[in-house]
């Protein structure tokens, strides 16, 4: 225990201070109710997101402001990584791989749209993150690649080159890069879970729970896309599913995939998490609506797990994970609201999307 205290006391104090500065639900309410993007930006002026307004006032461009926020977000987690040592640092480093993987997905998607599907992506390439998380991804070289081998070449020297190579047959067969995206998710979680194994017993238990729920969420999200967008058969879907979920195993995914049995997954989750009863009034009749509802239940479970961590034993990796999840959620919510404001979406509709 003394070891855990020594290991986590500083970062625990640091992150708890930062957690106390997370924006409240009341604040988000007023942000949603803001009359315009300009008003919303003004509200952010007195928060940790003041730089967002500074960038917007200078450029008038929300996407540029969003890119700045993305850079700040990565900086925040790199900062956490620099404040811990040993196996915890390795774990934090693996956590920040998330940003690299997400950025790479975005770049390869743009490349694919341009080079394979022949779409105009010029306006989007300016807003890509070009900094380094772990590997120098050679974003511009990658975007300029003429064909698949060019992409592999740009990614050589990183683990992603080999992953892209492995996915290539699927990408070409399906004319979509989702196989690569799934492989990147698999890579990220595998790396993360590998670093988890080097942590202490309590940390392993906590990390498995939280990461497990995140994996569940991702799997359900993919199931929705497999069913509605890609119309994949179950066997294929299962092949892509991420292992190490917390509530949703392969059996549950199979049931969720089945039009007639999706309700079973839903009912099981509801039975386990009675606190989500309030969501029932939104319960949709069709299978996709139920899947979306399952996704929301899992989000609730994730937040409940985070809440438990914050009131529980303080000297564990849980505080880092809780901060990672809450900060990520906060930033996502802010960007959703600001984008909605830019497009003049009504407050009620914004609320339903949060």
């Amino acid at each position: 225990m003394a070891f855990a205290v020594q290991k986590y006391s500083f970062i625990n104090a640091k992150l708890r201070t930062r957690l106390s500065k997370l924006l409240t639900d009341d604040f988000f309410d007023s942000l949603v109710r803001a009359h315009s993007l300009l008003d919303a930006m003004q509200l952010l002026k007195n928060t940790a997101y003041a730089p967002l307004d500074a960038v917007y006032s200078q450029t008038g461009d929300l996407k540029t402001a969003e890119l700045e926020l993305y850079k700040t977000e990565i900086g925040i987690f790199k900062d956490v990584e620099n404040r811990v040592e040993g196996t915890t640092r390795a774990f934090c480093s693996a956590l920040s791989t998330y940003y690299e993987v997400e950025n790479l997905k975005r770049v390869v998607r743009l490349w694919f749209d341009r080079a394979v599907l022949g779409r105009d992506v010029e306006d989007s390439i300016d807003y890509l993150y070009r900094g380094i998380v772990h590997y120098d991804l050679q974003i511009d070289q990658l975007l300029a690649a003429g064909d698949y081998s060019g992409v592999r070449e740009a990614l050589s020297g990183t683990p992603y080159g080999a992953i892209f190579g492995e996915c290539l047959p699927d990408i070409q067969k399906m004319n979509s890069i989702f196989a690569f995206e799934m492989a990147l998710d698999k890579y990220y979680y595998a790396e993360l879970l590998q670093t988890v194994e080097n942590l202490g017993t309590r940390d392993i238990r906590i990390a498995h729970r939280l990461i497990g729920v995140e994996i569940d969420l991702l799997n359900i999200n993919w199931v929705i896309r497999f069913k509605t967008l890609y119309k994949l058969p179950l066997a294929e879907a299962l092949r892509y599913a991420l292992p190490s979920g917390f509530e949703v195993d392969r059996e549950a995914i199979a049931r969720a995939y089945d039009q007639d049995r999706v309700g079973e997954v839903f009912d099981t989750l509801l039975k386990k998490h009675r606190g989500v009863g309030a969501m029932l009034k939104d319960q949709g009749a069709d299978a996709t609506a139920r899947l979306v509802l399952i996704e929301r239940i899992l989000e609730y479970v994730l937040m409940r797990e985070v809440g438990k961590l914050l009131v529980g034993y303080p000297f564990s990796v849980g505080i880092i994970l809780a901060y990672f999840i809450l900060k990520k959620t906060e930033i996502r919510r802010i960007m959703t609201i600001l984008n909605a404001k830019q497009y003049g979406i009504k407050p009620e509709e914004i609320k339903s999307r949060l």
């Binding site: 007023s30 109710r33 009359h35 315009s36 993007l37 300009l38 008003d39 003004q42 509200l43 002026k45 917007y56 006032s57 200078q58 450029t59 008038g60 461009d61 540029t64 341009r114 105009d120 010029e122 306006d123 390439i125 300016d126 807003y127 070009r130 511009d140 070289q141 300029a144 003429g146």
Partner: protein
């Protein structure tokens, strides 16, 4: 000043026709801490109904905050002004106000749109730069051709007289034009543009008679020139963006007075309707209630009389009477009545918690204790003067928010305390002999470990003992204050049995006496049996009365509470735990005061170290460096030790002193008033 202000509860009934004028009068008086009459549950709730407001206070507040956010663009913060003028209250047209704000937002948004268009040009230029820099040299870029499909490179010749116009016109697109071998007839050009603009750029080239040509050698090494040209363009575009931003601010600045006027009226309306939101009504009368400091009772009564011409009914109740009538604890708001000079210390107290109604307000005591502790930990005339002057300048000229302003004022006091401490120890920026030593030379004590006979303090141990005595004094004061609080609230059981009650105090002083005698004997013998029994044994035994008294008290309220054969055993367990907690708690509380000496030693030791380094550098022939080290050292000590001493003084007050008597979680007295908006 010693206790929180006495409050009176007012219930008033007035005729409906006086409501408007009376609302204004109450707002102008600014004395009533309103309470919804229904909240008190007097049994009359069913006979009255709430007043339906014609305007929503939430909407008023929302629009007001929106104006604040517009004004913040030009760094105007209307909320910090001290008082607003009630005579300027007029009916507010919310629709028109919102429309005018939307118009203003649209105007600013117009600027943002133009800024955005420029931003996209900047991004495209950055893209050109990034892609050009990807090439080893421009030759490879030119050869790469279609691979780098976002860029288009064109090389050719243009007539010299058309060059200026061409450059001006192509500037409308993200592009770079570099000129080579220019003479009076023609110039070779390298034109780099975005592929998406191919059609327009080609048309332009054709319009100006651009003739394609072979690459000339100078072009191939021009990568840096391209980057520099792009940089120049980006700088110009950024400046343009900044100008637009300034112009958008000027739009708000132009509306400043109108916005301030709107803000003031919205705020007045908000307060006006907030007061009315507490009103209840019958068919012809209006009823309201709230708390007023007893000393201002007549002012409120006169105000109501003046407006209603005597047609009113008032009832004034004391908190005690109200509690008796409603048979429950009433939440009485708390007003602290300290002189303005003590406001920084009042902030320290309320930052911990608002004292409960009718208990001791410790502000003046905290002021003394805090400054004594700070002075002992940070005693230096020079450094104290620095804090004093910095605080004074900040208080006189600084523009801070309320709490920050109080902190700055606190700095003035801390500086003063440090100066007095400095005179006590004879220290001036860590140098002895410059100012007289009124108590003992702390610097020398730390440097040599002891002081010669005749000095009031001769060893560090003695210094530690002094701080222990000081701590015992502070704790004793805390206990006495607690007894006063308990006597005033007639909590007799707690007065006797609480850990900070009379038996607790008896045992604490018994413990202090025992330790004192033990130390006097050279840590060899405890006091004799009878003395020990009287000092510690008896009060320890009497402590068993605590769980018993608590049980009896609970049993009175809940007669069904069982008394089992195990109950006495539980009393014994609780007694043992209570004793353990008592001893560990009081011991740590008392020893905690040794930090005062500890921080003082650290302060002196740091200054000694910097003075020594300066002397060594002087001897080594580098007096300038020595002086610099000494100045930096002083700044470092002022910042670090000043902060440490401030925090530790606060900590000792909060945890060792307040824990003995402070009853917090009171509700602050917040009248609806025009002040401090």
């Amino acid at each position: 000043m010693m206790f929180t202000a006495r409050m009176k509860y007012l219930v008033a009934i007035v005729l409906d026709k006086h409501v408007d004028e009376l609302t204004k009068e109450l707002l102008s008086l600014g004395l009533l801490h309103f309470v919804k009459f229904q909240d008190l549950q007097t049994g009359l709730e069913a006979k009255v109904s709430s007043v339906v407001l014609s305007v929503s206070t939430a909407r008023l507040q929302e629009i007001r905050k929106r104006i604040e956010s517009f004004l913040s663009i030009v760094k105007v913060y209307p909320g910090v002004q001290k008082q607003i003028d009630l005579d300027r209250l007029r009916r507010v047209d919310l629709e028109a106000t919102e429309k005018s704000l939307n118009d203003l937002a649209d105007r600013i948004q117009g600027f943002r749109e133009r800024q955005k268009a420029i931003q996209q040009e900047i991004l495209k230029h950055e893209d050109i730069k990034r892609q050009v820099l990807l090439f080893g040299d421009l030759k490879s870029g030119l050869q790469a051709g279609s691979q780098y499909s976002f860029l288009n490179f064109q090389i050719g010749v243009l007539a010299a007289e058309r060059l200026g116009d061409f450059k001006a016109e192509i500037d409308a697109f993200p592009s770079v034009v570099l000129t080579f071998r220019e003479d009076e007839n023609a110039a070779s050009l390298l034109v780099i543009s975005m592929k998406r603009d191919d059609a327009q750029v080609d048309a332009l080239l054709e319009k100006y008679g651009f003739q394609e040509a072979e690459v000339i050698p100078e072009m191939l090494g021009a990568k840096e020139e391209v980057a520099a040209a792009v940089e120049k363009k980006i700088s110009a575009l950024s400046a343009e963006q900044e100008t637009l931003n300034t112009e958008s601010q000027a739009v708000v600045a132009g509306e400043r007075d109108r916005l301030l006027d709107l803000w003031e009226n919205l705020r007045l309306n908000e307060l006006y309707y907030r007061i009315q939101s507490y009103f209840s009504r019958t068919s012809r009368t209006v009823l309201f209630s709230g708390w007023v400091p007893a000393a201002r009772q007549s002012a409120v009564e006169q105000g109501i009389r003046r407006i209603t011409g005597g047609s009113f009914y008032l009832e004034w109740r004391s908190p005690e009477g109200l509690e008796k009538e409603t048979r429950r604890r009433v939440n009485v708001p708390v007003q602290l009545k300290n002189p303005k000079l003590l406001s920084p210390f009042q902030m320290l107290v309320t930052n911990f918690s608002i004292p409960r109604y009718s208990t001791i307000d410790p502000t003046p005591i905290v002021a003394i204790l805090y400054l004594v502790m700070f002075g002992l930990m940070f005693g230096d005339v020079g450094q104290g003067l620095v804090l004093f002057i910095a605080g004074l300048l900040g208080a006189l000229f600084g523009k801070f928010k309320k709490n920050m302003k109080e902190l700055v004022k606190l700095l003035v006091y801390c500086g003063g305390a440090a100066v007095l401490g400095g005179f006590a120890f004879g220290s001036f920026f860590g140098l002895p002999g410059i100012v007289p030593t009124l108590w003992f030379n702390f610097d020398e004590l730390v440097a040599s470990g002891s002081l010669p006979p005749g000095s009031p303090v001769q060893s560090l141990i003695q210094m530690l003992v002094i701080t222990l005595y000081f701590g015992i004094g502070v704790i004793a004061l805390g206990l006495v204050l607690n007894w006063i609080n308990l006597i005033r609230s007639r909590q007799w059981v707690k007065l006797v049995f609480e850990r900070t009650g009379i038996i607790g105090g008896w045992m604490y002083f018994g413990g202090v006496y025992t330790v004192y005698r033990f130390a006097q004997s050279g840590f060899k013998a405890l006091p004799d049996g009878a003395a020990l029994l009287l000092a510690l044994g008896l009060p320890a035994l009497l402590f068993i009365g605590k769980p018993v008294a608590e049980f009896v008290e609970r049993k009175i309220h809940r007669p069904e509470l069982p008394l089992t054969p195990l109950t006495p055993l539980r009393f014994v367990f609780e007694w043992v735990v209570e004793l353990l907690e008592f001893f560990s708690g009081y011991l740590s509380n008392t020893l905690s005061f040794m930090r005062v000496a500890g921080l003082g030693v650290a302060h002196v030791a740091l200054m000694l170290a910097f003075t020594k380094i300066m002397e060594m550098l002087n001897e080594a022939g580098a007096p300038a460096v020595g002086a610099a080290v000494y100045v930096v050292g002083n700044i470092f000590v002022i910042a670090l030790e000043g902060l440490s001493a401030g925090i530790q003084s606060l900590r000792l007050n909060y945890y060792e002193f307040f824990s003995k008597y402070f009853k917090g979680s009171g509700e602050a007295y917040r009248p609806v008033s025009l002040k401090g908006t």
